[in-house]
Symmetry: C2
């Protein structure tokens, strides 16, 4: 069965793809509004991980609307969730089995159960979150086995998540000070390479 | 890394073990209060699946308390959740990385996020739910690839879940009519065998 995994180049979406790999034909999808070419790191990391990768163009008016939400709120959470929901719908319209890197302890982006069921019902898709049942320590342990990563302040990590283009449009429209007002600094990760020296087990026959 | 999966012999706990297999050393654990030998089907199915299996004895007073809860409520949900929480704590005391077959759309047994985090903090364990991010259709699709199952009314399925011993104690203490009053009939599954004719993929090197 084919599965399309929303991919930012971070450790969560990378690990999700790795967990799905023995059971699905995995393809990575990075969404782009075309405002900045923020998808480039994702393309390189996808190649390093060994998965096929696609850029999916999303209507730029969604980014405009998200920018307005972030400015109104003075905080990016609702804007990022809005983009994530639009992105999932867009991906689901072409890829009936889709996944993302949402983890148990995540707050944003995160759909609640009702929104997830609505997405599946409306789009006729299956939306799978392989890491939803994993806490932070379990994710860290698996990442440590399978991935080499760098972590740094979000501003200095070159990633292909929604935040990258949202930051760019806020900066262009409202100046660099507004970016610092709206986006709290937090540690983010980027994948450097996949570790192949562990022993991945093959299911018993 | 070793992982201990709470195992009833049903399709959800079986599929959870299969999803974990490429990434962990999986061992299956069936809890028993020693009131009835309901663990026997689980032992046979574990052997068929190809995983090591253990019976973990749980304090029988927990089953007594659960019986009282079910009688008070006239419905088994709170009693089953109570048993599940006690079983998780018991398993966590010996097995620091544990898992179960809880799915996204399950109602019982199901811990909420606060209870999960409390369990991990208190026991210093990692509690992983591989199917939490999977909806019913996705689970059915994977089960269809990996398992041959039978489904029937819960009363007629020989399984090793908490309901089996809870039914037995309610019947002994309060008679067979009370079992029918408390336990709504629902379709349950039992695994017959693992399908090995699919192509499980090996992660790319």
């Amino acid at each position: 069965m084919d599965i399309s995994v929303l991919f930012s180049g971070g450790k969560d979406s990378s690990l999700s793809a790795i967990l799905l790999e023995p059971f699905f034909e995995v393809r990575l999808i990075t969404c782009s509004f075309g405002f900045r070419e923020t998808w480039k790191p994702a393309r390189d990391i996808a190649s390093e991980l060994g998965f096929p990768h696609e850029i999916l163009r999303i209507d730029g008016t969604i980014l405009e609307a998200a920018c307005n939400i972030a400015i109104d709120d003075g905080y990016p959470n609702r804007a990022i969730n809005y983009i994530h929901q639009c992105a999932l719908q867009r991906v689901a319209s072409e890829h009936p089995v889709l996944a993302d890197g949402t983890r148990r302890d995540d707050r944003v982006p995160m759909l609640n159960l009702a929104d997830v069921q609505r997405l599946e019902d409306r789009c006729g898709c299956m939306y799978i979150r392989p890491l939803l049942g994993y806490g932070r320590r379990a994710v860290d342990a698996l990442v440590n086995v399978h991935l080499e990563i760098v972590e740094d302040e979000s501003e200095r990590i070159e990633k292909s998540d929604y935040e990258a283009e949202l930051r760019a449009i806020v900066e262009e429209r409202h100046g660099p000070e507004m970016v610092h007002t709206i986006f709290p600094e937090h540690i983010q990760s980027r994948v450097i390479r996949r570790k192949h020296d562990h022993h991945t087990q093959i299911p018993a026959r």
